[in-house]
């Protein structure tokens, strides 16, 4: 798409999702997911691929001084926010929010609601800041609901507001936590 294809690591080295049983055959998990989505929800689903990785932009400060911007895909929102939808939407959630909801069809949200920190680590990251491991945590978390079948919607509808939020908060390092 954008130039030379970079050589990749051998598939499956060190990763347990390289082979999974599904529908009587063994597939890498991305193929399991593709087949599952095609069968159940999106008959023409295909992964969006990129020829090259996103470039690394090293933080300009040591980690112990870095402001960390949290991005989550677990469908986190506060009670008076409408949940983010599969078309690709972002909800901005204060890191100090005392009550959140998890709205996402792709994982057990009831289990995660026992302790939302499992997919929304707003208790863990401030503890790291208190311990001096990181500098600080940006006050607003960008949350989306990660089941967005059309990859182009992620690029066009999710990425811009997430980037805007991170830039406005002058983060040194963005951390994306999937669900």
């Amino acid at each position: 798409m954008h130039g030379a294809i970079h050589p990749r690591e051998p598939d499956g080295v060190g990763f347990d999702d390289a082979a999974a049983q599904y529908d009587g055959a063994t597939h890498p998990f991305d193929e399991v997911e593709r087949l599952h989505l095609r069968k159940r929800l999106v008959p023409d689903f295909e992964w969006l691929d990129f020829d090259e990785p996103s470039p690394r932009n090293a933080p300009g400060v040591p980690l112990r001084d870095a402001r960390i911007g949290l991005v989550v895909t677990g469908g986190v929102h506060v009670p008076d926010q409408r949940p983010a939808r599969t078309i690709g939407e972002v909800r901005l959630v204060p890191v100090t929010a005392t009550q959140v909801r998890l709205t996402h069809g792709g994982y057990d949200t009831e289990r995660a609601m026992q302790d939302p920190d499992v997919v929304f680590p707003v208790r863990t990251l401030p503890r790291l800041a208190e311990a001096g491991a990181i500098g600080s945590v940006a006050p607003v978390v960008a949350s989306t609901m990660g089941y967005i079948p059309r990859g182009v919607n992620v690029l066009e509808r999710v990425v811009p507001p997430v980037v805007a939020s991170l830039v406005a908060q002058q983060v040194d390092l963005a951390l994306l936590v999937p669900a």
């Binding site: 990763f15 991305d30 677990g74 994982y107 390092l173």
Partner: protein, 79 residues
Amino acid sequence: MSITQAPTITRHARPSLAVFVAHPFGLTLGAPGDDATHEAVARTVLAEAEREHPAGTIVATGFRWPDDLRARQLRKQAH
């Protein structure tokens, strides 16, 4: 940078840097209430930001799940 629980999927998106944590979907940082594991995962992941990894690297970690929930999720036999 990103945490990933599914490197074969992450390879499509090709983020600048991803760190693989073999926890079940919906339990990314660890079990509910297991603050020690949540913190260990966060520390381990963030530490990779200061290492000289080429763009597109997926770093493997030693985090594993004690039962078969993740394995069943990968087979679409659990939520």
